[in-house]
């Protein structure tokens, strides 16, 4: 919350982006692909963090916003034959509209009721995907055909199936969202959101329409999550109902808790760390849900501020 050192913060974030760029040329193939996936999912986590970290609204239904982007973009390509950029925008629009509707309803509740309502709406969304299996592929999901996953600019075209193109596209999306979020956190709007988190009643009495501000945050969060979902469909070519299941509402919560709620880089660290833990433990056990479960409990018990949150508290007060 410090007012000082914007230069330091921007330098750190640009440094992280530069590091990820350099890694593209250094990493072996397996980790290269994994990191591309992690960056896309970190965008999902950043969207979640927007609401959970900054506004203090704990949603258990964000899988539906990710899936809205995933299916919006995927169906646009597969069923309607849209081009990649149009499908991407279409997916984002689906998420934004869904978030608006869900926000208008769910924000009438608070606390535990908000968590349950969002979970139920997400469940309805998930069941709808299964119910309309004729279009969505049901629980089998759909594969976005390789020839459709091409970005064309006049005569040149980029194939999103190419690992380097895929990595750099993911990095591009990640960087944009990261920098936008950094600017937003430091803006007046970011300050209002934090004020709502800290004390909503007081914020109302300072002249702020807290409902509209929260609704805007839900829509921004939904838009970012849908962008992640749309990118996932187009870059990795798979659209599946498991991404709409409860588990994918829990995972961003876990990533954000682990990395540090209300930190700009926490979502990336949390996603990266969780994938890393699962990667090294997969040699010993396939029980990856066990690790997720234990991690959730240990985090809320002993480490509620997450990795970056604790670092900020102890050493680096300026960390955004």
């Amino acid at each position: 919350m410090s007012e000082a050192s914007p230069a330091k913060a921007y330098a750190l974030h640009l440094g992280v982006i530069a590091l990820l760029f350099v890694l593209s040329f250094l990493l072996p193939e397996y980790y290269h692909g994994l990191l591309a996936r992690i960056m896309v999912l970190a965008v999902f986590a950043m969207g979640y963090n927007m609401l959970f970290g900054y506004v203090g609204l704990l949603s258990l239904g964000h899988a539906m916003l990710f899936a809205a982007g995933l299916y919006g973009a995927g169906l646009a390509v597969i069923q309607l034959g849209w081009s990649v950029p149009l499908a991407f925008l279409g997916g984002i629009a689906c998420g934004a509209v869904l978030a608006l509707v869900i926000g208008l309803l769910a924000l009438r509740t608070t606390g535990v009721a908000f968590m349950i309502v969002t979970m139920m709406f997400a469940q309805v969304f998930y069941l709808l995907i299964l119910y309309f299996a004729a279009w969505t592929g049901g629980d089998q999901g759909m594969v976005v055909p390789q020839p459709a996953r091409v970005l064309s600019f006049g005569t040149t075209s980029l194939e999103l199936t190419n690992p380097t193109v895929r990595y750099l596209t993911a990095l591009g999306l990640f960087s944009i969202v990261l920098l936008v979020k950094l600017a937003m956190v430091r803006s007046r709007y970011g300050r209002v959101l934090v004020a709502i988190r800290e004390n909503e009643e007081r914020t109302k009495m300072l002249g702020y329409d807290t409902f509209s501000n929260k609704l805007a945050a839900v829509v921004i969060s939904g838009t970012i999550c849908a962008a992640s979902g749309a990118a996932y469909a187009l870059l990795f070519g798979y659209v599946g109902s498991s991404f709409a299941s409860v588990q994918y509402s829990i995972l961003p919560l876990l990533w954000v808790l682990l990395g540090g709620a209300a930190t700009t880089l926490g979502p990336l660290i949390g996603t990266l760390f969780m994938y890393y833990v699962i990667d090294i433990t997969s040699g010993y056990t396939s029980a990856y849900l066990l690790i997720v479960g234990i991690a959730l409990i240990l985090l809320v018990l002993f480490f509620p501020k997450g990795i970056l949150g604790s670092i900020r508290q102890r050493w680096l007060g300026w960390l955004p």
């Binding site: 704990l58 258990l60 309803l105 535990v112 349950i116 309502v117 069941l127």
Partner: protein, 293 residues
Amino acid sequence: MHFGPHLLLAALEGLVTSAVLALTALGLSLVFGVMRVVNVAHGEFFMLGAVLAWAITTAIGGHPALGFLAALVIAPLIVGAIALVAERLVLRRLNYNPEATIVATIGMLYIIQQLALTFYGPEARPVEPPFSYRILLPWFGYSGYKLSVIATSALLLIATWLVLTHTRIGLVMRATQYDSETAQAFGIPVGRVYGGVFALGAMLAAIAAVLIVPISQAHYLMGQDPLLLSFIVVIIGGLGSLRGTVVAAVLIGLSDGIISMFFSPTLAKIIATLLVAMVLVFRPQGLFGTASR
């Protein structure tokens, strides 16, 4: 079969669902009412009850009634003990913060589910009913065991109600529910009440599971539907209200049985979940409940 008998069959099946659901939801409702926390792992306690029932009946062998009765006593006790340990180790340290508790119980859900998969396996396994008497109605025969499930559940619900309204334990629980700080000031060991209530809630779910296992099989993912349905019942019935819980369970169980006979189960679930979410948004005190406090 004609429409009338068809409907009667659907209603009977619905009542069996209601009976089991009322017990499960009552556990969730008690925990919410007294402790003000939502236990997302409640469905996994249900599943544990069923899996343990299979393990116990298999280990004992002999006449099915013997194993079943043993399971009906032992499985809830084991589940209650597990819940008590989880409450002491996790929820108490979180100070029963509502949001942290939800996250922690989600963690428990994953742990229990994964352990069940590892040690019990992915198969669905049946448990033999304690008796296989069929009651012959003019149009069809009906399982006597299913009817006994309805009766057992009703007895347990009445017993719970009596304990809550007529005993010192019930008084202590209600006092804690009404105002835990004042209760503490009057010397009620609120921490122990919380532990007991959490264990009791889990045990109710486990009993419900043992009762249903001879009808539907034990499976490591079987906790998901009861959790969702219990949520629905508790929300419709009004959070923390025993009478509302029972009424809502009968309503949901019956309509679930009848609707799923005529509609696709997925569509039924979609409509039910959406309706309940709307109830929570527009009438958070439930359809039957009055605003608590």
